[in-house]
Amino acid sequence: MKNIRFIILGILFGIILSKAEVISWYRIYEMFKFQSFHMYGIIGSAVVLGIILFSLFKKGTIKNYLGEKIELEAKKKGIYRTIIGGIIFGLGWGLIGACPGPMFILLGRGVLSILIVIFGGLLGVLFYHAIKNKLPH
């Protein structure tokens, strides 16, 4: 079962986000209140190292496990989709203090209420696709 490596990476990710308190509602509130450097430090250091990592991918210095060049997918462009979609996402992030990753990690902590949040998240995805053609992108 070659997918086991992804379970292991997921376990690591769940532990990292739990221990760094990224999945605590309080840390997200504190971030949006600009009352702590913690979340900015986490995202900022991840991105700075990510920029270095991706430049090594692009140069071909780091190859994948098959020895092939690592290709990076471009994100879909669009002012409306990114800004409006982003704002909607941010409203939800500020309200329940959990983005999609933390939702599942919190489930592992046995937080029952998060099942309702995940259900809401799935409804949101369905709803988006139902009205997608009517939205500006």
């Binding site: 990710f13 309080y26 991840a46 979609g85 599942f104 809401g120």
Partner: protein, 185 residues
């Protein structure tokens, strides 16, 4: 053992997130959590409601396995690595929260006012949870990614759409935190 039981500072958490991202790319995949919400919809038979969900979700099973791992990781961290569940907050945050109706901020990992059983069983609390989820799910797919896909991966790849999305995340989060939360609680 203190290193394990204490909360990890940002300069440990951030680089470790990049390390996980590195391994995902090294194994030929990518780092993006919210697309799993699409896969779960497809898995649950949403193809009957909308043709978009007729894609082969099994191709994303590696990502679903990643999510399964995060649930296990959350359990392990909670059960074995976090003897003290308190969150050490800025005293200003604690007093701000108390002003808008959140008692004992930081004593537990999550606020009872949102995630507690009493909140879950109340109309306002249940609505808060489901609307929060709706906004996150809808917004993530509309924007084309969430914190992992846009804020970490997209910014690392110097993508303009991701910068716009992250600016959007912050506009939304600031409106919620500064203007709407004080009205709700």
């Amino acid at each position: 053992m203190d290193v394990i039981s204490q909360p990890w500072p940002w300069y440990v958490g951030g680089p470790l997130i990049t390390l996980v991202m590195f391994f995902l790319y090294y194994f030929g995949k990518k780092f993006g959590i919210s697309s799993n919400l699409e896969s779960i919809c497809a898995m649950g038979g949403a193809g009957k409601i909308h043709e978009h969900f007729n894609f082969d979700w099994k191709k994303s099973s590696w990502n679903l396995m990643f999510v399964l791992g995060t649930i296990i990781g959350g359990f392990i961290a909670f059960k074995f690595m976090t003897p003290d569940q308190a969150i050490v907050l800025n005293p200003q945050t604690v007093s701000d929260l108390s002003e808008i109706g959140f008692e004992n901020a930081g004593v537990q990992y999550l606020p009872e006012e949102i995630f507690g059983l009493d909140a879950l069983l109340s109309i306002k609390g249940g609505a808060t949870l489901i609307i929060g989820g709706l906004l996150v799910g809808f917004g993530a797919r509309y924007a084309g990614g969430c914190t992992s896909g846009h804020a970490i991966t997209g910014l690392s790849n110097l993508e303009l759409p991701s910068l716009l999305a992250v600016i959007g995340f912050f506009i939304g989060g600031l409106i919620m935190t500064w203007l709407i939360l004080p009205l709700l609680f």
